[in-house]
């Protein structure tokens, strides 16, 4: 993977609006932004309502994913361009999710909704309906998804990257600062995880930094490129952003996203937790 196959610029996107075989999808937890104005022709996916199982804490199974994309009119050979708010967190999550189910050509819009808006590019409130398709997903690719036992086993052996803010990592905050702080889980981080906040990989306008800057960022944080890496955050969306950088932009070979993340790990009984700004001992 590389920047050329994983990412498109806003200029490229604007030139390719309405092009056959290209489907723009806005992904967010709250789709009210889409409803107030979206990239012309883009359909929407709601991170919670569309992409999460309504009962269990897990995402859609293969059949549910096939039904969703068929109904929304996405075909297997479409080039899917994902974008969203929150600096593309949920779009990056959806990118990882499309990859998990084997979609052939999926890309992120660099800068997402923010850059598009700040550039004063066109937005539309027209309703978008695409004719239904028959979508076939692959079996989930678990080489990019980490589960909790694997994460516990990775302490002191694999690269663990905590991409939350320094205050969340140290245990001074339990959630991003736009959310209330009272939560059930314990504060802190997984011992030996290094803290590289997702935001270090992005410019202020939401675009990704250059490959050279990114490589230097993770090398300086002590990430060993020859080792497998697991990224986590609080609920798995910010770590999708970092997973995208490490695997899709920089081409690290073995990178997994731990979508259970801190809301799962910080609630487990008996697991080690480190407090403070240092990674801690295995």
């Amino acid at each position: 993977m590389s920047r050329e196959t994983a990412l498109v610029t806003a200029d490229w996107a604007e030139k390719n609006l309405g092009a056959p075989g290209i489907v723009f999808i806005e992904v967010d937890e709250d789709t009210s932004a889409y409803d107030a104005g979206h990239i012309p022709g883009a359909i929407k996916l709601d991170w919670k309502k569309d992409l999460q199982d309504p009962v269990r804490r897990d995402f859609l199974n293969k059949q549910q994913f096939e039904a969703l994309l068929s109904e929304r009119g996405v075909a297997n050979d479409d080039t899917v361009i994902l974008y969203g708010g929150n600096n593309n967190w949920f779009a990056a999550y959806a990118y990882w999710y499309f990859k998990l189910y084997g979609h052939r050509d999926v890309r992120l819009l660099d800068g997402g909704r923010k850059k598009w808006e700040l550039d004063n590019r066109p937005l539309s409130t027209d309703e978008v309906r695409r004719p239904a398709t028959v979508y076939t997903a692959q079996e989930p690719d678990t080489s990019i998804r980490a589960f909790r036992d694997e994460v516990i086993a990775a302490i002191g052996t694999k690269n663990l990257v905590d991409v939350r803010s320094p205050d969340e990592y140290a245990g001074r905050l339990l959630a991003p600062a736009h959310l209330p702080q009272e939560q059930a889980q314990r504060a802190g981080h997984i011992p030996t995880a290094v803290n590289v906040p997702w935001s270090k990989a992005a410019n202020e306008d939401g675009t990704f930094k250059s490959d050279d800057e990114l490589r230097e960022l993770y090398a300086a944080a002590g990430l060993d490129e020859s080792k497998p890496t697991i990224a986590y955050c609080r609920i798995g969306e910010r770590s999708s952003h970092t997973w995208f950088v490490l695997r899709e932009l920089l081409g690290y070979r073995d990178v997994k996203n731990y979508d259970g993340s801190w809301t799962e790990y910080g609630s487990l009984v008996g697991v080690p937790v480190a407090l403070g700004d240092a990674p801690g001992e295995a």
Binding site: K114, P166, A175, H178, Q181, E182, Q183, P197, E204
Partner: protein
């Protein structure tokens, strides 16, 4: 009335009043408005980020119809940084438990 959803990560509706159940004796809430430096008019749809004392990103919200934003932080020094179609602006604030109000003026 919109409520803050603690299960997800998306920015809650910034136009909503402070949700019931937020204990101002315990929470450190930084709230305020984005305004245009030249006219003083509120700026809706600005991207407002909260940076910690080391300049690191902590959170980002989009300002509401009257330019409002709100963060749940911790006591200490913070920087607010706003990007909008009308320009950008920065404000420094020292917050304690309870409500701290700040205005961020943006200009080209």
């Amino acid at each position: 009335m919109a409520t803050v959803d603690v299960t997800g990560c998306a920015a809650p509706d910034q136009a909503a009043p402070l949700p019931a159940g937020v204990d101002l004796a315990r929470e450190t809430v930084i709230t305020g408005r984005v305004t245009a430096a030249d006219t003083g008019e509120p700026v809706a749809g600005a991207y407002v980020r909260l940076l910690d004392a080391g300049g690191d990103f902590t959170a980002e919200v989009v300002s509401g119809p009257a330019g409002q934003f709100r963060f749940f932080a911790a006591p200490g020094a913070w920087t607010l940084r706003a990007l909008s179609r009308l320009g950008q602006g920065t404000a420094e604030v020292t917050a304690d438990r309870g409500l701290t109000e700040v205005t961020v003026a943006v200009a080209r």
